[in-house]
């Protein structure tokens, strides 16, 4: 056993107890928080992680008797380095594991176990080192008191300071650095002259600093793993997280992680959305697009030379300016957003339709994200569809994207029923879009039932023609109409249906 500890150093050592205890709990909280962010159900995540961690600490305490019999201080410094390395990189590792491998849970519990195990060795080992300076009773009570105090500090710092100001990944790197500092304190207090140990400490410290500096990049890299193709552009706007990926010629847009289109087959979707209602009209002059900030629906509308004005109402100014100005995104929409006939208005459609200051339109195209929450769900309510009435000129036609009649059959028919209840004549239709699957829309008019005519379709479409048009209105048995209640603002059945419908797809 080394015997070169200077007198009066026990204060420093007790501070170390406090620091390692704080870090130990922070690692546990990081794992718990990350698991509940990524997997949901925080009660389950937190309790299984606490269980795993405590169990590992128990194992560690047991194993502590076999560790550092001869040189406990060296062993302790080594232990700090290991905790620093594994704990410090744990958050980053879990992020990456979530994105790139199917075994997130395995990595999670394994990491928690290893960190717990190492932390479990710490306290008994420290007691061995300190036992010369204190009586046994003093020792146990002081060390345990500091251990619990550290835990308290961690549980307060974590939600109030660490998460808000550092975020998970940086917090874990910083805790690693604290462990490195403790190793260094031990080396200087005990004047440990083990060259390899110094090197180890320096390397781990260096790696953690590098990690800290690159946390931003690690986060981005982890995000890439969530998307099948390389990310070429990502942006967080005031309203959403926007990611564009590209592989060979295929460009995809994701909003908040949900696929919006793939350049390979979006033409099918947009031809169905746009030309079905426009082919009901002799001469569409004014067209309103609600949503559709990517400009792809606008591109289809602008094919009609008789269209004089297009108004596009989209929530997010960042989205519309990106698709107007970004030079390879505006190739996708053929510069529709800079067309002289088109006007962009950035507003929440729900508010905007309740106080329209525009003359009625000949056609309205409604293209919103799926009703996956109560906020967006408002754009699929009876009140919303009623508010569209004054916006449509006599004889005009309306189309609405309505999610999948195959995967979310109840949701689809609930939307159709809601449009009907809002006083519209409806004709449901659907088509196959490879990257989405079977997709559904509703065509609606006010007076006579809708009557699309193939002769009015533009010539050079890639999907819609005289054969495909009537076909879209036929629903085979597995997508056939279901009786449905109406979706209302104060009771949005649709959002519940939608969640259940898609959950059953994901689970099966």
């Amino acid at each position: 056993m080394e015997n070169n500890e200077p007198p009066g150093s026990s204060g420093v050592l007790l501070i170390s107890v406090f620091l390692v205890a704080t870090c130990g709990l922070v690692y546990e909280l990081i794992a718990g928080a990350l698991a509940s962010y990524l997997l949901g159900d925080s009660v389950l995540q937190f309790s299984t992680i606490i269980g795993d961690y405590l169990f590992a600490m128990g194992v560690g305490s047991y194993l502590a008797q076999f560790v550092g019999r001869r040189q406990p201080a060296v062993a302790f410094a080594r232990l700090q380095n290991s905790i620093a390395f594994i704990g410090g990189f744990s958050a980053a590792a879990m992020h990456v594991a979530y994105s790139y491998s199917g075994g997130f849970r395995l990595v999670l519990y394994l990491l928690v176990f290893v960190v717990g195990l190492l932390v479990g060795v710490e306290i008994p080992l420290l007691m061995t080192i300190l036992k010369r300076n204190y009586s046994f009773r003093e020792l146990v009570s002081q060390v345990l008191a500091l251990d619990y105090l550290g835990a308290l500090l961690a549980s307060i710092l974590f939600p109030m300071l660490l998460i808000p100001y550092l975020g998970l990944i940086r917090t874990s790197f910083c805790c690693g650095l604290v462990n490195v500092a403790v190793a260094w304190i031990f080396m200087s207090v005990f004047r440990l002259r083990v060259p390899l140990l110094r090197l180890e400490t320096a390397v781990v410290g260096g790696l953690l600093l590098l990690g800290l500096a690159g946390s931003e990049r690690i986060t981005r890299w982890a995000e890439e793993g969530l998307y099948p193709d390389p990310i070429v552009l990502s942006r967080t706007t005031q309203y959403q997280r926007l990611v564009v990926t590209r592989k060979h010629q295929e460009v995809r847009l994701y909003l908040n992680g949900n696929l919006q289109f793939s350049s390979r087959d979006e033409y099918r979707y947009h031809e169905a959305l746009v030309h079905t209602p426009l082919s009901c009209l002799e001469k569409p002059r004014r067209v309103l697009i609600l949503g559709g900030g990517d400009g792809l629906a606008a591109r289809e509308v602008l094919r009609y030379p008789e269209v004089e004005q297009v108004l596009l109402v989209d929530l997010d100014p960042a989205m519309t300016s990106l698709f107007r100005d970004h030079q390879f995104l505006n190739r996708l929409n053929q510069h529709s957003l800079s067309d002289k006939r088109l006007r962009i208005l950035n507003a929440d459609a729900f508010v905007w339709v309740s106080e329209p200051r525009e003359a009625p339109f000949d056609a309205i195209l409604v293209d919103f994200p799926d009703p996956s929450n109560y906020a967006v769900g408002k754009l699929y309510t009876k009140t919303f569809y009623q508010r569209l009435h004054p916006l449509l000129a006599p004889g005009g036609a309306l189309s609405v994207q309505c999610t999948s009649p195959l995967f979310a059959r109840r949701s689809y028919w609930c939307i159709v029923e809601t449009i009907r209840a809002a006083g519209w004549q409806v004709s449901p239709y659907h088509l196959y879009v490879p990257s989405f699957g079977e997709w559904g829309f509703t065509l609606a008019t006010r007076e006579a039932p809708p009557h699309p005519e193939a002769r009015r379709l533009p010539r050079d479409l890639r999907y819609l023609d005289a054969a495909a048009l009537p076909d879209m209105f036929l629903f085979p048995a597995d997508m056939a109409a279901l009786p449905s209640p109406v979706n209302r603002l104060f009771d949005q059945v649709l959002v519940r249906y939608y969640e259940q419908d898609w959950r059953s797809i994901v689970d099966s």
């Binding site: 509940s36 962010y37 949901g40 159900d41 925080s42 009660v43 937190f46 939600p159 109030m160 998460i163 808000p164 005031q238 309203y239 959403q240 929530l315 929440d348 459609a349 729900f350 508010v351 309740s354 929450n373 109560y374 906020a375 967006v376 769900g377 408002k378 754009l379 009876k382 009140t383 209302r488 603002l489 104060f490 009771d491 949005q492 959002v495």
Partner: protein
């Protein structure tokens, strides 16, 4: 002597506490709603007012009660009146803040669908086009999802905390709900409900009145309802509407909260009107067309009989006194001011709960709104926490989950005796309140501070009258509402409960008493 007391009292009143704008770590805000100038002015002795202005009717106080009185007078063709209001805007506890992100309530934030007896509210809603041909305007009712509760690290729908509840908790909840349904069905021999809104239509049968002698905590215990979750849930209601703990709420009032809102024949039964600016929407309607008859920035300091008329004195922003001589006065101020203004003895039966209300102006919603379970609701409650949670001003107007918003945070000081609570509340300066709010919401929204641009605080020292045991059915409460010739009382505290329905009822009642005394009975708005 009394007068000095009042002025000193006025200085310590929250609405006189000062309006200081501050900025700390990028966060702006301050304590608002306070007429600092008045407190300042009132340190100096008040000069006497000059010759009084003659008006037919003078209304003191521009809260809901005062405005409802004005509205009723105008319906009867009485146009020669003035209304004096201390603040720079009318509305009292139903005012609003206007930020570029959204309007937001300063206090009152919802109106439940009116009961059949709430005839004044029904009439108002019809005028506003919100109730037409027996149908409610759907767009103005609270959109899904109305409320959620944060419990054990997760959000879930509703207020009763389900996660971690035992089967016994659920059994007790079902029993309690069944018990409430039975009270809702209860009628006396004359067909009156046990718990009506307005309170005045409740049955005076001894069986029901006896409940007012007991506190809600004992009532629950007596029925074997010991589940901490059920008791928290019931207490949440008492704190929400009365700012009181279970112990300080009479069982009558506690049951009233749950049993009185029966949906008034509309389906579903539990709907409510909510607006970004809260009940200020209703205030705006009541106040429309009043024009310069409303005098804001006037602190009424004295009301005295003078022959057959009444003289009312008030002090303005510059400390100038003015007086009015009126044939009729409607006193639409809280009853606790009467000793100071009318030289009446103190009425100890009237006690008031203090509240802290904060508006948090958010550049965009924090990302944590979507974490831990479910998306944002209108009302977001945190289980087992001193505040009631927050309501989201943009709930009705936005159809997206990000973007700018305003959250209104509510904190009744129910756990302390009011005088102590008031002291504690007023001792905290703006940055301490900010710290408390972030500490409370931090575990739920760790990233809230980052997106919060401005935090404004309103400290309401006498926010709500407390329906303590014995008060609601006391002779003190009944007597306080009795008019004197030419002087009529209108304030929600006379009902014993602070809600819009009661405030508007009291205003209309006082106005109709005035009209009746002039022999102009006319239509009774208080009855169908």
């Amino acid at each position: 002597m009394k007068r000095r007391l009042f002025l000193q009292g006025a200085l310590s009143l929250p609405w006189l506490a000062g309006c200081l704008s501050r900025s700390e770590g990028g966060l702006q805000g301050g304590i608002v709603g306070a007429n600092f100038w008045l407190g300042h002015r009132l340190r100096q002795p008040l000069p006497r007012a000059g010759t009084p202005r003659r008006v037919d009717v003078l209304i003191a106080g521009g809260g809901v009660a005062g405005l409802a009185a004005a509205w009723r007078l105008r319906q009867a063709g009485v146009e020669n009146f003035e209304l004096l209001e201390l603040e720079s805007e009318v509305g009292g506890n139903s005012r609003a803040a206007h930020y570029s992100e959204s309007a937001a309530p300063w206090a009152a934030h919802y109106l439940p669908v009116p009961t059949r007896e709430a005839t004044v509210v029904r009439r108002l809603l019809s005028e506003m086009g919100l109730l037409r041909g027996g149908r409610l305007e759907e767009a103005e009712l609270c959109h899904s999802n109305e409320e959620r509760v944060f419990v054990l690290g997760r959000w879930e729908e509703g207020i009763f905390p389900k996660a971690g509840a035992s089967s016994d908790d659920f059994r007790q909840l079902r029993e309690f709900e069944e018990h409430i349904r039975n009270w809702q069905k209860w009628r006396d021999a004359k067909g009156r409900k046990a718990f009506a809104i307005p309170v005045a239509w409740s049955s005076p049968e001894p069986e029901v009145r006896a409940l007012d002698q007991e506190n809600m905590a004992d009532y629950l215990t007596r029925h074997g309802w010991t589940s901490p979750r059920l008791r928290w849930y019931v207490e949440y209601g008492c704190r929400d509407d009365y700012g009181c703990s279970l112990q300080n709420t009479s069982a009558w009032a506690g049951l009233h909260y749950f049993a009185s809102r029966d949906g008034g024949g509309f389906e579903p039964k539990d709907m409510q009107f909510v607006w970004p600016e809260g009940n200020h929407r209703l205030v705006q309607h009541l106040a429309s067309g009043l024009g310069d008859r409303v005098r804001t920035g006037r602190l009424v300091t004295r009301i005295e009989a003078s022959g057959k008329r009444w003289v009312v004195e008030a002090c303005d922003r510059e400390g100038r006194m003015a007086s009015w001589s009126a044939a009729g006065v409607i006193f639409a101020l809280p009853t606790f001011l009467r000793p100071y203004l009318l030289k009446e003895p103190v009425r100890p039966a009237f006690s008031y709960a203090p509240w802290t209300v904060c508006n948090l102006v958010l550049e965009r919603l924090p990302e944590s709104v979507a974490a831990a379970g479910m998306a944002l609701s209108w009302d977001n409650v945190i289980y087992d926490s001193p505040g009631l949670g927050y309501v989201v001003a943009t709930h009705q107007t936005q159809s997206h989950l990000q973007g700018p918003s305003v959250w209104t945070y509510y904190r009744p000081w129910a756990e302390l005796e009011p005088a102590r609570a008031r002291q504690r509340m007023l001792a905290a300066d703006w940055s301490e309140v900010c710290q408390q709010v972030f500490a409370e919401l931090g575990p739920v929204h760790p990233d809230l501070r980052e997106v919060c641009r401005r935090l404004e605080v309103m400290q309401l020292g006498h926010a709500m009258v407390r329906p303590s045991p014995g008060f609601l059915w006391s002779s003190e409460r009944r007597e306080a509402a009795l008019p004197q010739p030419g002087l009529y009382y209108a304030h929600s505290d006379l009902s014993g409960l602070s809600i819009f329905e009661e405030a508007s009822y009291q205003g209309v009642r006082a106005a109709q008493e005035l009209l009746a005394e002039r022999g102009r009975k006319g239509e009774d708005f208080l009855r169908e």
